[in-house]
Amino acid sequence: MSKQNVILEARNIVKYYGEQKVLDIENFTLYKGAFNFLIGPNGSGKTTFLQILSLVDKDYRGELYYKGEAIDYQRDNLLKSRRKFSVIWQNPYLYKGSVSYNIGLPLRLRGVNKKSIHHKVKQMAEKLAITELLSKRHDQISGGEKQKVSIARALITEPEIIFVDEPTNSLDKESISFFNQHFSELVTDEMTVLLITHDLTQVKRLANHINSLDKGKLIYQGCPREYNSNNFHVI
């Protein structure tokens, strides 16, 4: 892929947990409008790296570049950058309140007016076929439904980059099948996705670009065709 298509770059990222170095990545590139995958065995540092890339974790050494410009960690600028991204977490957290409140929350935080939030929440719920859940409380829905709500919450702001951390882990078969079939339809061409997964089906079906992590180091970056299928055992 060409340099023009790069939306986010990470250079010389080093992260420690106490005395232990858990990440040591010289160069990482996220391609615009593509499904970028981050794969690797458990404990390889995937989620830790995702938290750094999504600007949730600031406690690391190294540089991040968004569209060629270094990320500015001054409070207001950092907030502006964060608001261009969304994260779908593994086992998502829903706030106390209705499903509707949860989906519209990122818009409320951005000061969007109530009428507009209501309209967008309804639209997003229709796309994910969860309209009947809107009035339910956060603890009245299943794990699969929670994941759908968190997808709606992440997409409602139309982010430039969506970070997705093992979205189908610990979900039932029906919810996994829903995600595999519909997630790519929900993401627009302008959106960039970085998806962490252990699910080969998702990689084979969606990946435009693969990044493989092992023991905190990036051991492969490239397109899926070139990725030796024998390497899939490390997923």
Binding site: L79, R82, S86, V87, W89, Y93, Y95, L109
Partner: protein, 232 residues
């Protein structure tokens, strides 16, 4: 009719007729308790959050001290504050002894540990994912704080209700620092003690019934909030 029956009938009559003296004592008590709870709420909640969310040297010791102070005898607080605000005490010039301000100061000291400890527990119970999710949604620092308070609202409200329950039923602080002055610092508990000693058992019983009703409502409030926590 026996003594208890007569007293009970008199107590109910006083309550039903909204006896002026009775109302005066009850309103003084409620005013004092609400005021001290409201004043202690802000520092108590903030300290609870700070202790829960930060790791610092001596945190364990502070937690042990806090837990110890939960059962602080009211007369000990009364004695401590008395030594501060009596004429020869360091705050003697403020003329707070045997005044509403004196009782409020004592009650604040009595309930601060309760509000801090219960708020700390409420914040501690919140899943760590809540903070990460708030940051990733683009919440400002203030918005993160508001989300935190909203998530802990049942626990924090429970802390305030428990604190109110503690002050409305205490006697040590009110007696030692208020002096039981009629119409000024006479509270439900100090009036109960005094009127019963004077032989007005019916009056004392009426106040006791009112205090029991308030205690019931307070406990019902805590129960309702706990039920709300598990169902909302």
């Amino acid at each position: 009719m026996n003594y208890l029956q007569e007293a009970l009938i008199e107590a109910f009559k006083l309550i039903i007729n909204l006896d002026r003296e009775l109302l005066d004592v009850v309103t003084t008590s409620l005013r004092l308790s609400v005021t001290s709870t409201l004043i202690a709420a802000l520092p108590g909640i903030l300290l609870g959050i700070i202790i829960s969310r930060n790791n610092f040297g001596g945190k364990k010791v502070i937690n042990v001290i806090l837990n110890t102070l939960l059962g602080l005898p009211t007369v000990v607080v009364g004695l401590f504050v008395y030594s501060l605000i009596s004429r020869r005490g360091p705050l003697g010039e403020l003329d707070m002894l045997f005044s509403i301000r004196g009782i409020i100061l004592g009650q604040i000291i009595l309930i601060l540990p309760i509000i801090i400890a219960l708020s700390r527990n409420a914040i501690h119970d919140i899943d760590d994912k809540m903070y990460k999710t708030a940051i990733s949604m683009g919440a400002t620092r203030l918005q993160q704080f508001k989300l935190l308070l909203a998530e802990a609202r049942y626990g924090i409200s429970g802390a305030l209700i428990a604190a109110f329950g503690r002050v409305i039923g205490e006697i040590g602080v009110s007696m030692m620092l208020g002096g039981n002055i009629r119409g000024v610092t006479r509270t439900i508990t100090t009036a109960m003690a005094m009127e019963t000693n004077k032989g007005r058992f019916g009056f004392g019983l009426a106040l006791g019934l009112i205090l029991l009703t308030i205690a019931f409502l307070v406990n019902f409030g805590v129960y309702y909030l706990q039920a709300g926590e598990s169902s909302v």
